[in-house]
Point group: C3
Chain length 267, copies 3
């Protein structure tokens, strides 16, 4: 059963402490490191093109995030991505801001062509832009897209030959054949930066400890949405996003198979 | 009346969610993103010279912060600044550390010459160095300057043809003709990093929703100083700057026209 | 007496507010700035090769951290390091991830050859790799090493002609002749990112106000370990690493000679 097998992944992450190599943006890099630690992984963030291939040899999963890419970072991402592909470790790709500028969109498409990414996590307009849809991502926020999120996830999963995770009010995860909807979350997850980026880190932690990356994607995405829900419940009057962010990190740290099973709503 | 018209800007920011493009430093970039979200804006931090001009086309204001500039970042700032100038969106310039090294001071002067910045926000010695004063900025902290802060703000506003905001125990905002002093704040705002940088983000959010950038500058600066004051009141015995920083973010998030009007002290 | 003379350093840091120039990684750069402020120093993080030598002229100590180095950053570190050496200010070197990739290990050895670093702070496998030991640093986490931590600290201090600080369950500080063990700490210090990096900032603050860098190293290292212990005691049920991180910053801010003397366990 889906929930039972995902439930077991939590202890596996905490026991094996998978090393998650990130090439990510400068905005939320600290959050990515702390969230990786909170769920039980070990983060490393080396970015020099001179060492990324070597670092990937030690890693159990790779996260590629386009938040603040430039040419130099992109070249290093290609090297790291190819090394990860050769090793067969999962590659989680976060196409931040794709659809906002041609530079971002073109590089993202090229990256997917050159590196078979395992899992793509983005918002609807980012994913839509990835498969050639005319979406206008507004900076790093989702814009409107012409098809439903579920349709989009299925279509993108097929076209990109990857697990696709679309974050939103409800999250959708699809491998092209199977599709799951996660009915957890809180609107305040959109009021702090980095909840998307760190979801990619969570997914990578789970993907590092199972061959079933579809389940890993559901696990990582739902941990964030559920933790966001639980953190909100802990707030008192006059708490704002400062306190929310602290409680969110607490909830990710406290999450285990039991808590997850009790709170998650999949369909 | 000044306070009445500023009061109305809060709801306008939260309603329109202006997109604030930042080219900023790696130290406080996460804080800038979260503060932008907390007041109701939407942050984007793309830095590649290949896309900044495109990103500016989507943006409602631009923040340029010199905290950790190098040649590559500076070139991208020039491109973004010129694009913003052409579009007529407000440009908030934060001359972090200007006066500390010739590199920083020269680049800042050159930047202002090439890009008509709308609003300059700095501490006294940074602003003094910008207009050719012999101030020794100590790293990123204010050094002594030879004239009063009010005189300096007026003089700098005239010479730079910009709104000038000088942060300090009391903050001064001048457009060269009109000058306002903000009598809010707390000394602990100097005990955490990023309260200056994030003030520039706040100013940009307000400047994005009004043509009166003088009022926007007062709004943004006073939100930080007032939030810093309110956050301090929420602390318990044995709380330190860790908790203060969390409460400060809460207070910015909770700030609206009513709270602001009740607490702000302008003269 | 050792504790008495270290005790006096706290007030000296808060009184003189030493300027600590950092060339550090993008993951924990914000934490380094805030921890420097929390103990009473003033952080600056300029990285351009065009200005680092000038910034060092204003600084009272220099921190070099290899977390996310690339060629450009490394060149700037060499320039800053040589300038600091010429001025005679203390240089704290944090060889993050050394032992994980040849790039990192080779650059670290070269750096030490070219710049006499004053104090090295790392985990056991990083320090072991620095002196040519066959340690496999796992990303940025300590791997196993063949000798005891105390032996390693003494040997490394002699070979590197520097004070050596090895963080771990117990911390060891050695100048090659004198060796001190710090019996404070909490395992949760390993569950958040940046407690190593920020320890280097603390050490730099103390080294900036005394000629006895051995004592400064003990002071900085023990502040982190003791603060980590005290922060843990402040947690309530269901608090996690989000809250812990906030309390840790509070405890560093609240630390003074008296609190330190009361809590520290040296041997």
């Amino acid at each position: 059963m889906l929930t039972a097998s995902i439930k077991n992944l939590f202890a596996k992450v905490r026991k094996t402490e998978p090393l998650i190599h990130h090439l990510t943006n400068t905005v939320t890099i600290n959050d990515c490191a702390n969230v990786t630690l909170a769920i039980g992984g070990s983060p490393v963030m080396a970015t020099s093109i001179q060492e990324v291939a070597n670092m990937v040899q030690l890693a159990n999963a790779l996260v590629i995030n386009f938040g603040t890419i430039d040419d130099e970072m992109y070249e290093a991402m290609l090297v790291a991505g190819k090394a990860a592909k050769n090793r067969g470790i999962p590659i989680v790709f976060d196409p931040v801001g794709v659809g906002a500028t041609p530079f971002r969109t073109n590089r993202a498409k090229e990256f997917i062509e050159q590196v078979n990414v395992s899992i793509v996590r983005g918002n609807a307009s980012e994913v839509y832009a990835l498969i050639g849809g005319k979406a206008q991502t507004r900076g790093v926020d989702a814009g409107d897209v012409a098809i439903s999120k579920t349709e989009l996830a299925v279509k993108a999963a097929k076209e990109l030959a990857a697990i696709v995770v679309i974050s939103g009010e409800q999250d959708v995860v699809s491998d092209g054949t199977n599709t799951v909807c996660i009915r957890n979350g809180d609107v305040w997850l959109t009021k702090i930066t980095g909840t998307g980026c760190t979801t990619a880190s969570l997914i990578a932690c789970f993907a590092a400890v199972t061959d079933d990356w579809f389940k890993a994607a559901i696990a990582g995405m739902s941990v964030m949405s559920l933790a966001g829900e639980l953190a909100k419940k802990k707030l008192k009057d006059n708490d704002g996003i400062g306190t929310y962010r602290v409680k969110l990190m607490d909830e990710i740290f406290l999450m285990d198979g039991e808590r997850w099973e009790e709170g998650v709503r999949l369909s």
